[in-house]
């Protein structure tokens, strides 16, 4: 808890250029804690001739402010648009620093932030402590539709996918070939599932695998390009397949929820960052549905 003190709160954000005018701020492959202040996420921005487009705003007011300062350190262009990819707190709680700029999101994301934003903000205080000081939920005011946006010489294709949550915005910059995959894709970091529909998520991954792009920016984990750019897409799908297979097999075999907390795990699964914690969370999120399907098949007569 002492580490909260050092949190006078400098995230030391260093935008890294991954394509012309395109920058990523990489978070750590960890769970939220008092040391990382919630910076476990990748955010990004695109500098165009008309101004800057920001993709996700990080986990706190301070992060948003420091991100804005980092952008100002790179370009004099004004920020003209902010996009929130989905409703998870590490992707939108920095909105406060961009309140004077139109913030856009898919309708399901806006609704989710409206209804659950305060709860996320409270739980982030518990997990990241003083880094969250003064953070307030700012609901995106602009509703995004799938389609193509022309901004200062960049053609941005907005894809409305779902599965990680009920609304996941993926952005393909057709001009640079950069795919901002949001949390549909994790790279060597165990995917999180609090709002997941695994079947829909796998469909969204299939869709990404069929798209032309050159550089992949996952929601969490390293940026990939070249031959390796599809690997995180495949890896995320493979993990979700393993997870749903493990849970449905256990439910069908009559295992209780607590008995699935410590499964036999292949090395490629166990080697992903934050595996034990995220897996146990996923059991709580996903097992009840598999369990209920298994129990519904039983022979019961009410008397």
């Amino acid at each position: 808890m002492v580490s909260g003190i050092q949190a006078a709160g400098n995230y030391h954000l260093k935008p890294e250029m991954i394509a012309p005018g395109t920058y990523v701020l990489s978070g750590r492959n960890e769970h939220f804690n008092f040391r990382n202040g919630g910076n476990i996420v990748n955010t990004g921005f695109i500098v165009t001739k008309q101004g800057v487009v920001v993709i996700d705003t990080g986990p706190s007011r301070i992060y948003g402010e420091q991100m804005r300062a980092a952008i100002a350190g790179i370009t004099d262009q004004p920020i003209i648009s902010v996009l929130n990819t989905h409703l998870h707190p590490d992707h939108f709680l920095g909105n406060q620093a961009f309140e004077d700029i139109p913030i856009g999101a898919l309708p399901g994301t806006i609704e989710g932030i409206r209804t659950q934003g305060e709860m996320f903000n409270d739980s982030m205080y518990r997990l990241a402590g003083s880094w969250m000081a003064g953070t307030r939920v700012v609901i995106p005011g602009e509703t995004l539709k799938p389609g193509t946006l022309e901004v200062g010489g960049h053609r941005l294709r907005l894809l409305a996918l779902d599965g990680h949550t009920s609304a996941d915005l993926v952005i393909l910059d057709e001009t640079t070939g950069v795919l901002f995959a949001s949390d549909i894709v994790f790279n060597s970091r165990t995917p999180t599932t609090p709002h997941a529909d695994v079947g829909r998520w796998l469909k969204a991954l299939d869709r990404l695998a069929s798209i032309e792009f050159d550089i992949l920016v996952p929601g969490h984990g390293r940026v990939e390009s070249g031959a390796k750019r599809f690997e995180p897409v495949i890896q995320t799908g493979k993990y979700l397949g393993w997870l749903s297979g493990t849970l449905s097999t256990a439910a069908e075999a009559g295992k209780s929820m607590a008995e699935v907390l410590h499964p036999d795990v292949p090395q490629w699964v166990a080697g992903q960052a934050v595996f034990p914690e995220e897996y146990q969370r996923s059991v709580v999120h996903l097992f009840p549905d598999y369990e209920s399907a298994a129990l519904q098949r039983g022979l019961v007569e009410q008397q």
Binding site: S123, R126, P194, A253, G254, S256, M257, A258, E259, L261, H262, E277, Q280, R281, V283, V284, H285, P288, E291, S292, A294, L295, Q296, R297, G298, L299, V300, E301, Q302, Q303
Partner: protein, 260 residues
């Protein structure tokens, strides 16, 4: 550590059991491996200060962190002990400590269930053997909290009443025993939310075709809404689940081995 060693030595000198564990007289508690501030009080109030041992043969599976404080999965397994007459599960830092009691009767001394926790707490299983000694196992669950003072989803939902008491479940045949898993629709309100009185399943009895009692359960308010129970029973083709809640509403269903 030194006190433990001293206890062990005393045990051996007094020619108690073959002492892998330390049995102590009623007026003292052995050092608590979970270091809980509530342990002494729990020992007095729930176990009547009776003889206790902390015993690794009582396995309590809990997650390290309660992702959902309304639904914390636990499994108590005292199979390695034998001759168990009673199991008491309690959550020490919950406003209501008692979670459930089980009289195994003919069942394996094992139970899986999901529970509500109000904050980070030790979850403990006290297992009474025929010699009158309570064997304790446990684990600590970290939690954001609020599980006991949040209203059940059922109470907020209009049509729960028509499904209340409804049982779904399945009986899996096995080499040594049959595994029973049942879910019973019930709000399991704790009474800690203002305006919503305590309303929970109080007792359940599982019987076989011959009408013999296989096991008896006594549930309390901290058991999660729509409880899901996991039990290992003597082999049976079918069992009857019979019970009541604290308002006298009956629960009655037969579960047969096999699937639709």
């Amino acid at each position: 550590m030194n006190t433990t060693t001293a206890f062990l030595r005393k045990c051996l000198l007094a020619a108690f059991l073959i002492c892998q564990v330390s049995v102590v007289p009623a007026e003292t508690s052995p050092p608590d491996p979970l270091n809980s501030v509530m342990w002494k009080e729990m020992h007095e109030t729930l176990l009547g200060g009776g003889p206790v041992v902390f015993d690794e043969r009582v396995r309590v599976l809990v997650p390290g962190d309660a992702e959902d404080s309304m639904n914390v999965p636990i499994l108590v397994d005292a199979t390695a002990l034998g001759n168990v007459s009673r199991i008491l599960v309690f959550a020490e830092l919950n406003p209501i400590h008692r979670v459930l009691e089980m009289e195994p009767v003919q069942a394996v001394p094992l139970i899986g269930v999901r529970i509500k926790v109000q904050q980070a707490t030790p979850i403990r299983a006290a297992v009474l053997t025929d010699d009158g000694v309570w064997h304790l196992g446990g684990g600590i669950v970290d939690a954001a909290g609020g599980g006991c003072t949040a209203p059940s989803l059922g109470s907020a939902n209009q049509d729960w009443a028509s499904r209340m008491g409804e049982v779904s479940g399945r009986l899996w045949p096995g080499d040594e025993h049959s595994r029973l898993r049942v879910q019973i629709m019930h709000p399991m309100d704790t009474g800690l939310v203002s305006g919503i009185p305590a309303f929970y399943i109080e007792q359940l009895e599982i019987t076989n075709e011959a009408g013999e009692v296989l096991t008896r359960l006594f549930l309390h308010e901290p058991v999660s809404e729509n409880p899901v129970l996991t039990l290992n029973l003597p082999q049976a083709e079918s069992v009857v689940v019979r019970g009541t809640d604290n308002n006298g509403n009956p629960i009655l269903a037969q579960v047969r081995s096999g699937v639709m």
